[in-house]
């Protein structure tokens, strides 16, 4: 397959189409409306379902319905819209139906702005809705990953019957890069829908999909089953990338857009004689805690860089468990920290830990 220059939002949309997306329900919001726009012509021309909804609340509940019917389904939004969907995430997680959610994060809190941000890390990873659950959260750092992780989000969502979330940001959504699109998968025909799905109780007892369990002991059992599934996901699905960590004395940890910015920082640090390495989490839930703990034994210190006030920082600190100093550098408001402002932070860490 040839590489083509793709815009980030269109990349995600087209990758979803190729992953066998059957239905999309979405509401426009900057900086991700191009996902909706791409699908508004692409899905109907393939005879699949596209619907622009009246709100993000409607979107997520349509996704919930279509997922209950056993269809491969997705919605996309940006930060404020994702907040509106959170009740739905919780229902979907408890009902154990698969769905893919795209969050192209923008500056917050509040209406914030339409510039790139990573301010929704906590929301995605720690508290995607009420009750005990985590979506599987995939954080692409470039557009090839945006395509590949979108496909993976569908596969993981279906494998574990839960939410696969792609956590991107406005700059990934708006930028262009060469991408090799994944091959077009056939759409699963309706008669091959999963046995648990709502397809009409023809020749079988009715299927009921609910998240209501009024008896305490029953709801506890449901929770124990969900927790066991989360442990299984944590054991099987942690993904990350490392850059120059073999001999690293200082470790950078950053995800998404700022993760790739830190690739440049590592190169520049090496040129300046600082042996820096980078760990870029690909799954932020489950988090690569074990590998970070391992690297913490090797390095003198850790620098976490984010486009927020220090959210993933907490997970890094939990992984490092005080073995080494952990510093933080972050920018807000839609500002992407650039290598020349991260370097001094790395130099400070270098000096402090010598």
């Amino acid at each position: 397959m040839a590489r083509e220059l793709w815009e980030g939002n269109a990349t995600i949309a087209e990758a979803a189409v190729r992953a066998g997306l059957e239905a999309f329900f979405g509401y426009p919001i900057t900086p991700q409306s191009e996902i909706l726009e791409h699908l508004s012509h692409r899905l109907p021309e393939l005879g699949r379902v596209f619907l622009q909804t009246e709100s993000e609340v409607a979107s997520i509940n349509m996704v919930y319905g279509a997922a209950c019917a056993g269809a491969r389904v997705m919605t996309s939004s940006s930060s404020p819209g994702i907040s509106l969907m959170q009740e739905g995430f919780s229902y979907i997680a408890c009902s154990e139906v698969p769905a893919v959610i795209i969050n192209v994060m923008r500056g917050g809190p509040g209406l914030g702005n339409v510039a790139p941000s990573q301010g929704d890390y906590f929301q995605a990873v720690k508290m995607a809705g009420h009750g005990d659950f985590h979506p599987i959260v995939l954080a692409p750092g470039n557009l090839q990953e945006a395509a590949d992780l979108t496909v993976l989000a569908f596969d993981l969502a279906e494998k574990y019957r839960t939410i696969g979330m792609v956590l991107a940001d406005g700059s990934l959504g708006q930028m262009m890069e060469p991408v090799e699109m994944p091959p077009m998968r056939p759409v699963r025909p309706p008669y091959e829908r999963p046995s648990w799905a709502l397809t009409g109780a023809e020749g079988r007892p009715p299927n009921i999909i609910t998240s209501l369990y009024l008896v305490e002991e029953v709801l506890e059992k449901v929770n124990l089953r969900l927790q066991a599934k989360l442990r299984q996901i944590a054991a099987n699905e942690v993904r990350w990338k490392e850059y120059s960590t073999e001999d690293a004395e200082l470790l950078l940890v950053a995800f998404g857009t700022v993760g790739r910015v830190c690739q440049t920082v590592v190169r520049e640090a090496r040129r300046a004689g600082i042996r820096a390495g980078l760990l870029r989490p690909i799954t932020v839930w489950p988090f690569p805690s074990a590998r970070i703990a391992q690297l913490a034994e090797q390095v003198r210190g850790v620098l976490v860089v984010e486009m927020n006030a220090g959210q993933m920082l907490e997970d890094v600190r939990l992984a490092v468990e005080g073995r080494r100093p952990v510093r933080f550098y972050g920018r807000f408001g839609g500002i992407i920290p650039l290598p020349d402002e991260i370097m001094p932070e790395l130099e400070k860490l270098d000096a402090e830990t010598r």
Partner: protein, 277 residues
């Protein structure tokens, strides 16, 4: 619990559970009309022969456990979102029969946005809207359909329209929308009204099967428990007070629906000017 009794061969079976209902006792209060409405829907689905391809969406409210009583595929929506969920199901399963079962808090308060847009899009689903002018499950609070002056646990001096607004006439409101083709208000307060309601429910499902558009049956119902009256008094109260505010009858019957009913459709007469309306 239900005990099965063999029917003696010399006797004729005249009444039984519809196949579309499970043989379970419901949790509804004595005198509640939900049970009647469940049965009417189940009879209609049996008569239409579509049980095995019907998917129901339950609300949050007294009927939250409706899926325990209907013998068919069912899911449980978030509060007010049943029409959105039904939209999602129907769009990816156009050959299925999809219906929502919703109360007044679910449909006319928290879920107004979803019901209006679902109706307006003309989704090929059917909505059964049970209006008993009160929040039942949460303990008798004021509903969007609570009548002016009606005392509830959250309107202790009676609904004051100055501060709480007016009761929502949903059948009228939904009937105005382009995508809604059959909208009617019926009641389950006596035998004749129950019979008419069943007819309406059947037509609503037939409208869906014919692919004509969105259909909704609003059903005036009772809540003796939270109104603080006996079941019989509740029926009287609903007839006297609710029917005065919520007139029974169709608020929308499209030409296509009339044709489906076998009525001759007269050509549309133009209104001379808007002021004459």
């Amino acid at each position: 619990m239900v005990t099965t009794v063999e029917i003696p061969t010399d006797m004729e079976l005249v009444y039984k559970y519809p196949e579309s209902l499970t043989p379970r006792s419901t949790h509804y209060c004595p005198g509640c009309t939900h049970g009647i409405i469940h049965r009417l829907i189940a009879e209609v689905i049996d008569e239409l022969g579509v049980r095995e391809r019907t998917i129901g969406v339950a609300p949050v409210g007294c009927a939250v456990l409706a899926y325990e009583y209907f013998n068919m595929d069912f899911c449980e929506a978030a509060h007010g979102r049943a029409p959105a969920m039904a939209t999602g199901i129907k769009r990816v399963s156009p050959d299925k029969v999809v219906f929502t079962y919703q109360g007044d808090g679910d449909l006319a308060a928290i879920g107004t946005s979803e019901i209006i847009h679902t109706a307006n899009r003309g989704e090929l689903i059917t909505t059964i809207f049970v209006n008993n002018a009160i929040y039942g499950m949460t303990g008798g609070q004021m509903a969007p359909t609570t009548l002016p002056g009606q005392v509830t646990t959250s309107s202790p001096r009676g609904r004051d329209v100055e501060t709480a607004g007016w009761p929502m006439k949903m059948a009228e409101l939904i009937g105005m929308l382009g995508g809604a083709v059959y909208v009617t208000r019926q009641a389950v307060l006596d035998v004749p009204s129950i019979r008419r309601t069943k007819k309406a429910i059947k037509l609503a499902f037939q409208v869906q099967l014919a692919g004509l558009g969105f259909s909704m049956v609003e059903i005036i119902s009772t809540c003796g428990t939270n109104w603080g009256v006996s079941p019989l008094e509740a029926l009287d109260w609903a007839k006297t007070h609710m029917l005065a505010y919520y007139p029974l009858g169709d608020t929308k019957v499209s030409d296509a629906v009339r044709e489906l009913m076998g009525e001759r459709v007269t050509p549309f007469t133009m209104v001379k000017s808007a002021t004459e309306l």
